[in-house]
């Protein structure tokens, strides 16, 4: 089984420096890309069927192809790597940038070439201090070796790269809020259209891609679309970083073929539940995904199949709910996060999420009523897509709506007994 994204990552050791990365085949994808035209590079990524790993699964090549090209295109154009990673339960992008920073840089340079961007930013989460040091060093090495700067490898293509660290707030990961933050403003989302591909940073064409998405790009260019599609068990190309956290025997992160089943990830890799515990369900891709139940473990973890099963692949990092953990408390923790991180721009989310968190808190503490459960159900449609300005609030409603459906008895038990049955 091939693991292109992680094969050169040695946890606990320093990442490959430039010479080591080149020796391991690094920057060959960039060399191949520079021999093609920008639109041919876009086409190669389309053919590979790479879908965005930031959560939504949008086809990367298609996204790039919307950027205005040619002499008449507005300038400068921008390419941004989203390394904000704040989705609770998610720890894949940190692994990639700490473990192999040059892989991200190579992906960014190729992506920038494909859309003919001249300026690129790494938007890095404030908490990722080690990643900062390693990216800073890698960017310096790349400039010194001519992979960044003027006339890259004699191709006539120029690219500058800057490292920007965030100052906190989950909403910065949402791509239009990220652009406002990079412009030095409060990170509130922007209305779309216009889409960032056409009018993004300072009104110029801009592509924002997730870290893992960009890390796939060098391998597609180096080895071809057919090879890339062959890595996967389903229609979505490539491998995927899957993670598991919670009370399993071996929490961790693994690069596996896209479309690996939950069962294989949960049982073979994470080792199943710890002794004495039973799994009641899991959220498959971070805090803003619907619960799946143990009888759905044969679901293949790719974008379309998880969607059909009633949830979303999201970030592909699973959080497990066990039978000794209160489902109401679990959802309360998620809703407290979302309420705190609401950017405050639109009223339904700013007012609705704290209300949801307050109701859940009352329920969990044993002072809730049946009426509270009814209000929670109403909120799951009141804060749904189309009713709020961005996807944060609907994302918050995903685990809540499925918890109310699957763990309804546990909610009513809190009301009936006027206490949390999991607290002694």
């Amino acid at each position: 089984m091939e693991t292109p994204l992680t094969k050169n990552i040695r946890p606990g050791e320093l990442p490959l420096d430039l010479a080591g990365y080149e020796k391991a085949g690094g920057y060959q994808g960039l060399r191949k890309a520079l021999a093609l035209s920008p639109t041919e590079v876009q086409e190669a990524v389309k053919q590979a069927n790479l879908r965005g790993r930031g959560g939504a699964g949008f086809p990367t090549g298609v996204k790039w192809s919307v950027v205005p090209m040619g002499d008449g295109a507005p300038r400068p154009k921008y390419l941004i790597a989203n390394v904000d990673e704040m989705e609770p339960g998610t720890f894949k992008d940190r692994y990639l940038v700490e473990g192999n920073p040059h892989q991200l840089l190579e992906g960014m340079i190729i992506a920038a070439y494909a859309i003919q961007a001249e300026i690129s930013y790494v938007f890095l989460r404030w908490a990722y201090k080690l990643a900062y040091q390693r990216l800073e060093k890698a960017i310096g090495e790349a400039y010194a070796a001519g992979y960044l700067g003027q006339n890259i490898l004699g191709s006539g293509f120029h690219l500058r790269m800057h490292l920007h660290t965030s100052a906190g707030r989950y909403i910065c990961g949402e791509e239009s809020a990220l652009l406002n933050s990079l412009e030095g403003k409060r990170a509130t989302p922007r209305s779309r259209p216009p889409f960032p591909q056409v009018s993004g940073l300072w009104g110029k064409p801009t592509i924002v891609n997730n870290t893992e998405t960009l890390c796939n790009v060098p391998h597609i260019l180096a080895n071809g679309a057919e090879w890339y599609k062959g890595l996967s068990k389903t229609n979505d190309g490539g491998t995927k970083l899957y993670g598991v956290s919670g009370k399993v025997k071996r929490p961790g992160l693994w690069e596996l073929p896209m479309g690996t089943t939950i069962r294989e990830i949960f049982e073979d890799h994470a080792g199943g539940m710890r002794e004495g515990l039973t799994c009641r369900g899991l959220i498959p891709g971070g805090a803003s995904t619907d619960f799946l139940l143990p009888d759905q473990f044969d679901v293949q973890m790719d974008f379309d199949t998880v969607q059909k099963a009633g949830s979303r692949l999201g970030t592909g990092t699973i959080v497990v709910l066990d039978d000794q953990t209160c489902p109401v408390g679990f959802v309360l923790n998620l809703q407290q996060f979302f309420a705190l991180e609401s950017c405050g721009w639109c009223t339904p989310c700013r007012e609705g999420l704290p209300w949801v968190a307050k109701l859940l808190s009352a329920l969990e503490q044993g002072s809730g009523s049946e009426g509270d459960i009814a209000i929670l159900k109403e909120q799951t449609s009141g804060l749904w897509l189309g009713k709020t300005f961005c996807a944060l609030a609907p994302g918050a409603m995903e685990p809540l709506q499925s918890a109310l459906k699957f763990f309804g008895d546990d909610f009513t038990r809190h009301v009936r007994e006027q206490r949390c049955p999991w607290r002694s």
């Binding site: 998610t90 906190g168 989950y170 956290s245």
Partner: protein, 154 residues
């Protein structure tokens, strides 16, 4: 007034953006690094450099939770309060930590040594519960571990 070091670091940031307002967040971080937190005086000092009023800068500063508009201790401890850490029982570790320091969440110890703040997921969920002390990530926390960690920060 900005110190020469602050001015130099802010100038380096200004070079990374097309428009100087964009360096505002980085500039706030620079003064915070040097002064511990962002004082009203610091906002005024930044006005001419960024071409923004102190009120405009404050609107930005108060949006971001890692910009401090109140003083903090010599070391800031961020305890992850998100889902994987919650499942793994972070609340016990947090309560133990606060108990040892004799403060509540959000407060600073009387000797100004530590401030404890909550934070969202630190991206180390497989090693939960976790906390960040200044630039160092500490994982798989237990109460005895917390004691050993605190001893390392004067």
């Amino acid at each position: 007034m900005l110190s020469p070091d602050e001015r130099r670091e802010i100038d380096a940031e200004l070079a990374n953006y097309e428009f100087r307002e964009a360096a505002g967040i980085e500039a706030l971080k620079v003064v915070q690094r040097h002064r511990g937190w962002v004082t009203d005086e610091a906002l005024a000092d930044l006005e001419p450099v960024l071409g923004l009023s102190a009120a405009e800068l404050d609107a930005v500063a108060t949006f971001y939770d890692k910009i401090y508009r109140k003083p903090v201790g010599r070391h800031v401890i961020f305890v992850c309060s998100s889902i994987s850490c919650w499942v793994m029982g972070y609340e016990n570790v947090r309560d133990y930590l606060l108990d040892r320091l004799g403060i509540l969440l959000g407060q600073t110890t009387a000797d100004n040594r530590f401030t404890v703040l909550p934070t969202a997921c630190l991206g180390a969920c497989d090693l939960a519960p976790v906390m960040l002390v200044d630039d160092d990530l500490h994982c798989n926390l237990t109460p005895p571990e917390v004691d050993a960690i605190l001893a390392r920060y004067e």
